[in-house]
């Protein structure tokens, strides 16, 4: 319960203060002294679904189902014929000034938990409930799907796979054979990819399980159809495995940063057409692998334009262990999560460490919501944590996964929702305002689990997830499939 409470509350310390004050002023709110009816006013932002503004007296033990029924009755009137029009609603209850949380229990319990005594009319905002994600498409791969990125402009999907290929996939194509538009081979299993548009066109950068990242230009034919990918840049400089990449969202895709096990973040300038000679080595690499001889040598090895942190890993200078994830925020700052249990914020312009959030667990994935300025991190201890960079002392906890949480990702375009996936074969859709996930979906079907011979424990891990637009979620798993989940009808 405390977790949930902590969860709802975004600023825990202030809230605890409030609680203590309120207890001094009036006795604690309990289930016994709570009134049986409370006055409620329904509001919504969707004007088409607006119901009466006047307050209604409702029994306090109503749950969201009951409230949903009431709103539906108010909207469509009573009667069996109107039942078809009924839509489930979610309810946001204000428990503090400007603070709202989704109702998951009865109203009574909610207020007891938040220790708010409803003296006057309560305003409840309702929004149409999101239906459960439905798997609409399965794209088979040759091996584990390690990463998924979606380019909304060209409507293409980039998937990294343990068979060392990055695939460019047209998700809307119905012909399974023509789905894969192009592939790009790497020396080792692909770990992470990122895609962006630069002035030279669409490109994607990939990190396989070695110390070099690669930048590939996506080639198009005359019909503006993607027909191939060409490696244009090899980013050399890291001493150890590159774990994550991120593109500067504001610099027109010109800047790229990579995070590595050697405790540094390196910043690279993307130059697909080799226009800036000072960035790359003039000599072509001679000791490349023999397979590349066949391919036209179009890549040059690039040097980093900047390095954050040192490989020595002394304290105060940067991460002391390998960096697992990195996110380029606006305003020229980079957030990085590491094996040394910290999340650090870097000032790119000055190449300095700005702030450090010390957690207690390894960070396996990190994502930043630009609008809310909140960081979500995934951890091996089955939890998703939410951090406010301004308040680094405490984190809110989202507890629902049963195994290592692999990835967490915010909704695109700033919203309250995020998705997470983990080793328990689950894809979960969350809302920040709710302690429990809105929806949980198994990636691998029952049948495939059954075929694996183990019913209890899922042998499959959902390694990657992508909340592409606000309608679809892609998830890639160790059952070698990529699945497309539709959220909205």
């Amino acid at each position: 319960m405390s977790d949930t409470e902590q969860n709802i509350v975004e600023e825990p310390s202030t809230v605890t203060n409030d609680v203590s004050e309120s207890t001094e002023a009036q006795p604690a709110v309990t289930l016994l002294n709570f009134p049986s009816t409370i006055s409620v006013r329904f509001v919504t932002r969707n004007e088409e679904q607006q119901v009466t503004e006047s307050a209604i007296n409702l029994p306090s033990d109503l749950t969201r189902f009951g409230l949903s029924e009431i709103v539906n009755h108010l909207l469509h009137g009573e009667g069996e014929e109107n039942k078809e029009k009924h839509v489930p609603f979610e309810f946001l209850v204000e428990y503090k000034e400007t603070k709202k949380a989704f109702l998951r229990t009865s109203l009574k319990k909610f207020f007891v938990k938040t220790q708010k005594y409803p003296e006057s009319t309560i305003t409840i905002e309702y929004v149409e409930a999101q239906p459960a994600p439905k798997c609409v498409d399965t794209i088979p791969h040759d091996d584990w799907v390690s990463d998924i990125k979606f380019d909304p402009i060209t409507n293409t999907l980039f998937t990294g796979c343990y068979d060392k290929f990055v695939r460019i996939i047209d998700p809307d194509s119905s012909d399974p054979e023509k789905r894969v538009l192009a592939t790009a081979k790497h020396p080792r299993p692909v770990q992470n990819i990122v895609c962006a548009h630069s002035s030279d066109g669409l490109y994607f950068a990939s990190a396989s399980k070695d110390e070099n990242a690669r930048v590939w230009k996506v080639l198009k034919d005359d019909n503006d159809r993607i027909n191939g990918a060409e490696c244009r840049m090899i980013l050399r400089g890291h001493l150890m495995n590159v774990n994550d990449l991120s593109v500067n969202p504001s610099a027109n895709g010109e800047l790229l940063c990579t995070a590595s096990d050697d405790r540094t973040i390196k910043i690279w300038q993307v130059d697909l057409e080799h226009k800036k000679p000072h960035l790359f080595n003039q000599e072509l690499e001679s000791d490349e692998q023999p397979t590349t001889k066949k391919v036209k040598r179009t890549y040059k090895s690039f040097n980093a334009i900047g390095t954050l942190g040192t490989t020595s890993g002394n304290k105060g200078e940067g991460h002391t262990l390998g960096i697992t994830c990195v996110t380029w925020a606006h305003k020229g700052s980079i957030y990085s999560g590491s094996n040394d249990h910290t999340i650090r914020q870097w000032d790119v312009a000055r190449a300095e460490l700005t702030s450090t959030i010390s957690g207690s667990k390894v960070v396996s994935s990190l994502t930043l919501n630009q609008d809310l300025n909140l960081i979500l991190t995934a951890h091996p201890d089955h939890l998703v944590r939410m951090w406010d960079p301004r308040m680094s002392s405490r984190a809110s906890i989202f507890r629902s996964h049963k195994a290592w949480v692999r990835r967490v990702e915010w909704q695109v375009g700033g919203g309250h929702q995020f998705v997470s996936c983990g080793d328990d074969n689950q894809v979960k859709v969350w809302d920040v305002r709710s302690a429990l996930p809105l929806h949980s979906v198994s990636h691998s079907s029952e049948q495939s689990l059954h075929q694996s011979g183990r019913k209890n424990v899922s042998p499959f891990k959902v390694l990657s997830i992508s909340y592409c637009d606000n309608e679809t979620i892609y998830s890639g798993s160790t059952d070698t499939t990529l699945k497309k989940h539709k959220i909205k009808n």
Binding site: W144, R188, L321, P380, A403, W404
Partner: protein, 807 residues
């Protein structure tokens, strides 16, 4: 002589019966004349003797009593007697008949009694009969039950009384004088007939009755009675036992002189100070109060001490009902037996539960055992002062990954120095390389035998691990992982070129070897047959080895090749080279363990079955091997279990099954010997990263912590596991260590070691039990290793899984 007296009285009663018939006769005389009666009696005495006995039974004690009650009877009787007798009878009263008899014989009363007694003894049968009739109240002759009451009460009624069933007994019609007259003429028994008023009956006297009456009247003894029998004395005076059984009186007691003195002393002292020895009665100031619920002055409230003295009630002995051999009345009859066709179906003793319940209830309601509560002022104080495990985080606690893929027990796991990959060796003859965080199997190597041990080179600049398979130790470099620079450095160690083979052979002079072996044999004469067996094995293996050696190099001569390196080159062993197997070290005996030095250049291989050559230290860069010990380390049958390098100093730790020996490699001598206190069978050993502490785990479930600075005895011995400890491991960075056992559990401990403060003892706190491994064929967790950078733990178990526990 009271008993005698009583007997005489009885006999008197017996005699007293005789007059009853007499009285009957007397009654009769009311009706008939005195003379007639006398005549009839006289006349009939001789003739009619048969009826005498028959009437005897009919006589009744009650009847006699009734007869006696009436006053008239006396008078009637007197008519039969002489004048002298009448006087006597008047004097004597009711039992005058007897007295008359006595006086008639001119004997004193006592004399008569004695005589009677003698007579009685002579003729027991007759008097027995009389006695019986005395006692029996249920005689056939008794009909009327009115009891001993004056009969005139019934004179007005038609009935004379009630029979046994309460019915009235109607009175017969009385005979009038005419009837009597007629009867006197017609009835021959008329004169013998007497009338019983109580029962309204007429009796006819037999001859015997008459004889008795006459005997009584004349004061004669009854016939067949000998009044002069010899007297039998019941108690003789000259009996041997003391007649008086009283204990010796106190005045016969002569006290001891010492005691007399002591008593005198006491008395003197008491005279001086009269208060000595007198218990002081405390003055009671408080008003006396009474326990309201007390009973008869007994206090029932104060039962605290008495409860303990209560004896438990004895259980009833098993009765007939529970007997296997019951008496006949308990044996069921055939009809009852037919109810059950089998003895099994006979129900149990029906009161069994009730009786047991009653007994249990009794024991419960009055408990006999006094339970003394141990007074513990503060239970918390009993616990050792240990910090809260919560405050000692991080430590491995969450089972995060289960890595599956092996098909047999996993004997060994090892993590690479960057902590990204795990290598595992199993009995399915394969070595697998896994990615830690995704549990992906990167590569599989197949070998010819069980994998005994796999160890990653701890040098982060190298990407190399060693595998013990049978007699070989393989050095494997996996190019699929690690950065280019590291792989390049590793490849440099094993250039793809020919090499000086002679350098890479460790030889021993065979003679010298033999001598050493003999010496060793002599020292270990007590060594058992198992060694002989192993020798046989050794011979067989030797042959094989020799062949190999001969084939590879011809230079052996008289020397015995202990160990040979073989480097694989692309031109000769393309397959192995492509798999990443870079080199192989052939041993003579099975290698069970290897350990790398921290810098990754030296490693030691351990073959416990080899006698002198069990421990060989190899140098990777020089490609040479050396034997640090000339003599066998084991003694008294203790095998070498583990051999480890000190992390910082040139020290070398060798653990036999009981001891740990620390050698200084530079000075080449034994530096210290650690002796286990209780642990007799060490299975594994681990050295603290600062080198000052050694941890051992034993097959006897114990785990011992040695502080090298304190003593050669263990600082702490702990036994938490339920089965043999298989593996112990220290964390390189965090103050953690863990033990793995065959009970499928891994125990994680926090261990704080104070390097700067020598006075402080290490703090060892158990923090977590990690479960998850299943016990398979009595084996649990076989090997554990901590993650080099994270507080994580990797374990390999007999359940064919590798598990990762994260913090």
């Amino acid at each position: 002589m009271p008993p005698k007296r009583s007997r005489t009285e009885e006999s008197k009663d017996g005699w007293g019966e005789v007059p009853t018939t007499e009285n009957d006769v007397i009654e009769l005389s009311d009706v008939s004349s005195d003379e007639e009666v006398a005549d009839t009696v006289d006349s009939d005495t001789d003739t009619n003797t048969n009826g005498y006995e028959g009437n005897d039974d009919g006589d009744d004690s009650d009847n006699e009593d009734d007869v006696y009650v009436s006053d008239d009877d006396d008078g009637d009787l007197n008519e039969f007697l002489t004048e002298e007798e009448q006087e006597d009878s008047d004097e004597e009263g009711d039992i005058g008949g007897l007295k008359v008899l006595h006086s008639f014989n001119n004997e004193t009363e006592e004399e008569v009694k004695e005589r009677k007694k003698r007579e009685l003894d002579q003729e027991p049968s007759m008097f027995d009969d009389v006695d019986n009739s005395d006692d029996s109240s249920e005689d056939e002759g008794m009909i009327n039950t009115v009891g001993n009451i004056p009969l005139e009460w019934y004179e007005e009624y038609d009935h004379i009384g009630y029979d046994v069933n309460g019915n009235r007994i109607l009175r017969k019609k009385r005979k009038d004088a005419l009837d009597n007259l007629i009867a006197s003429h017609d009835d021959p028994n008329y004169l013998r007939t007497v009338y019983d008023e109580l029962n309204d009956k007429e009796h006819i006297l037999s001859n015997k009755d008459l004889q008795t009456i006459i005997d009584v009247q004349k004061g004669r003894f009854p016939s067949n009675y000998n009044p002069y029998r010899p007297m039998v004395e019941y108690v003789t005076i000259d009996s041997r036992f003391p007649l008086v059984g009283t204990p010796t009186p106190k005045k016969h007691f002569t006290p001891d002189k010492d005691e007399l003195k002591h008593i005198a002393r006491l008395a003197r002292r008491m005279r001086k100070n009269p208060k000595v020895g007198v218990p002081q009665i405390p003055q009671r100031n408080t008003p006396e109060c009474y326990l309201m619920w007390g009973q008869d002055g007994r206090v029932i409230g104060d039962t605290t001490n008495r409860v303990g003295l209560l004896q438990a009630p004895k259980t009833l002995l098993p009765g007939h009902g529970q007997s296997y051999n019951p008496p006949m009345e308990y044996v069921p009859e055939d009809s009852q037996r037919r109810l059950y066709d089998s003895l099994r179906k006979v129900p149990a003793y029906d009161k069994f539960i009730q009786e047991r319940y009653r007994r249990c209830l009794d024991l419960y309601m009055a408990p006999r055992v006094q339970i003394r509560k141990k007074v513990i002022p503060d239970p918390e104080k009993l616990l050792p002062e240990l910090p809260d495990p919560e405050s000692l985080r991080p430590y491995p606690e969450i089972p995060s990954l289960v890595i599956e893929g092996h098909h047999h027990i996993i004997r060994s796991v090892s993590i690479n120095p960057t902590g990204t990959h795990v290598v595992s060796g199993s009995d399915d003859h394969t070595v697998r390389l896994w990615e830690v965080d995704t549990s992906r199997c990167v590569r599989v190597w197949k070998f010819h035998a069980d994998i005994q041990c796999v160890r990653f080179n701890p040098n982060a600049g190298l990407n190399l691990f060693a595998v013990c398979v049978g007699l070989q130790v393989y050095l494997i470099h996996c190019g699929d992982i690690g950065s280019e620079a590291v792989n390049e450095a590793t490849r440099k160690l094993f250039p793809d070129a020919s090499y000086d083979e002679t350098k890479s052979i460790l030889e021993v002079d065979e003679e010298e070897e033999l001598e050493m072996f003999k010496k060793d044999e002599q020292e270990n004469e007590s060594d058992d047959e198992s060694d002989d067996e192993s020798e046989d094995d050794q011979d067989g293996e030797k042959d094989i080895q020799k062949e190999q050696v001969v084939s590879s190099s011809t230079k052996t001569g008289r020397k015995k090749v202990l160990l040979r390196w073989e480097f694989y080159r692309t031109d000769q062993h393309k397959e192995k080279r492509s798999q990443g197997i870079m080199a192989c070290l052939y041993h003579l005996k099975q290698v069970t363990q290897i350990d790398w030095h921290v810098r990754g250049d030296y490693f030691v291989s351990l073959s416990p079955t080899a006698n002198n050559d069990g421990i060989v230290i190899h140098q990777l860069s020089n490609r040479t091997s050396q034997k640090p010990f000339k003599k066998a380390l084991r003694n008294k049958g203790q095998k070498v279990v583990s051999a480890l390098f000190h992390p910082t100093q040139p020290h070398f730790y060798v653990a036999t099954s009981r001891n740990i020996m620390v050698f200084n490699l530079q000075r080449q001598k034994l530096q210290k010997k650690l002796k286990g206190q209780k642990c007799r069978d060490i299975s594994s050993m681990s050295i603290h990263p600062n080198g000052g502490h050694v941890l051992t785990g034993g097959y006897d479930r114990r785990m011992e912590w040695f502080d090298m600075e304190i003593s050669s005895r263990p600082y702490k011995t702990m036994r938490f596991h339920r089965k043999a400890v298989r593996s112990v491991a220290f964390h390189k960075r965090y103050p953690l260590f863990a033990t793995a056992s065959d009970d499928g559990q891994i125990h994680v401990f926090h261990c704080q070691v104070f390097v700067d403060d020598w006075l402080k003892d290490p703090i060892i706190v158990p923090v977590k039990i990690l479960r998850g491994h299943k016990i398979t064929s009595h084996l649990g967790v076989l090997d554990i290793e901590f993650h080099p950078t994270q507080p994580w733990l990797i374990s390999g178990g007999a359940d064919q899984t590798i598990r990762l526990f994260t913090s």
